[in-house]
Amino acid sequence: MTETTPTILADLAHEIRSKNAGPFWVTMELFMRDADGYRIAADESFLNERTVARLYDVDEEGIQIFRIPSLNVVKISFPRPVSQASLFDRDIHSGQHHVPLAVLPVPDN
């Protein structure tokens, strides 16, 4: 990574993943490396319902965010925007949908 590239959430995480939670929900988890990384990911002024709605083009009202300090985890769930395995579903298990979240630039202190 060059010095000009902003830090992204993935740089501060051990793993960022996404998956179906049943046929009608998508869920994502950010496993942050340490408490410092968790503090950034869990910061409601940075990563909130509005941020997620913008990244995934979904309604803010349906988004649930769980912040779990004991595990340094932030978990995000929302209703699946495209019906599973329908003509316009390109990710049957929602397994690759974590990427926009993972490459989200972290704000400067």
Binding site: F24, Y56, K75, A85
Partner: protein, 461 residues
Amino acid sequence: MDKEPVDFVTVMAPTGMLGAGFPEATIERGLRLGADVISVDGGSTDSGPYYLGASQPKTTRAAVARDLRMLLKAAARADIPLIVGSCGTSGTDNGVDWVAGIVADVQAEEGLNLRVARIYSEQDSADLKECLDAGRIHALPPAEELRPETLESCTHIVGVMGHEPIVAAIEAGAQVVLAGRATDTAIAAAVPLMKGMPAGPSWHAAKIIECGGQCTTDPRAGGVLATIDANGFSIEPLATTAACTPNLVAAHMLYETANPFRMREPDGTLDVGDATYTAVDETTVRVEGSRFHVADQHTIKLEGARITGYETMSFTGIRDPHILSAIDDWAALLRTMIKQRVEQTIGLTDDQYAFDVRLYGYNAVLGDLDPAKGAPREVGVMLLVNAPDQATATAVAKIANPLMLHLPTPDMNYLPSLAFATSPAETERGPAYEFVLHHVVDSRTPTDMFRIEFEEATRRD
């Protein structure tokens, strides 16, 4: 089963999915550690509605037979029950019979004679319409209120059972329980609950072991063993090379759950908000503080799938740097041209069929959500067509074929030839399905929507 009270119950989960495999040594170790029951999941909705809609298993018969052979022999030797949930991937009656046929063959080949119960979970749409009329069916978010015609449109509907039908089968003498659609947890929670273990630890342990070794440091090495007692449960891997850690066990509550703290089962809600996870030694984790709130109304969740149309797929590749530098323009032109040509040749308008053009290598996976920009080196163009019948879907794909072979970008004054991957280019995918039910039925009893049938093991013809 003996009726004497017990201090603890030990559940072996050899793998997250019947047919996914496990080392034989891990089963031996589980028996040595004193497993009271073997539970293994045989299905899921995870891979989409096809398996329910078409009532077809996702796993191949040889893989299921391989796993069942080892598990049946282990269950027979240790004289403990073997419970398989969501048989045949979707838990349709046909899926239960498919697994039962494999079990019968293995029993005959191995000289076993375990008593097998089949629990059928498929539901009749007419019965469900009566439930709907009686106000006993409710939508789960984000679903909307159920309409009777939705029930009629399903090719298959299953009810997702809790532990109760499984307990009933074992109490009636089953040594092998082949359950239709069941919650992932019910198959592991059944015996602990039957033997009087508290619901909080029983359901929590069941959730943690549902994916086999996923809560260990080496998920590929095999499954896990959970021991449930009056105050909590302990969990350890079946493979000596793997370990459970407090973080891995706690994190598994997050896996494939919308809410990581509360999980609804037919007879209530598991609540792990106050659970504690402690390392007992280097491989074993102790969990306490799990609670279970019994619901006022027992409910059975429904799953149903219906045909949305028939699909035909076609795939070409682009390596030409000029086209790739204008790939969005090219794809937009392809979409426009397909619509025009389809209307000109077979007179179909937009609402009579549908298609998707996916640019693999560029933005096929995330589409407009993709944060990355820039031209790729090569792109695979997938055309996926959906139409009310297979012939129409294929006709649309064939009309698109010359375009997918020769379509230039708007600024090119010659026709390129693109790289088809197969000939013929069109692959018929058959019926496509969608899940349409996300609803629960208020149960009259925990078992009355399920039918239990017993059979003595005999060789099939």
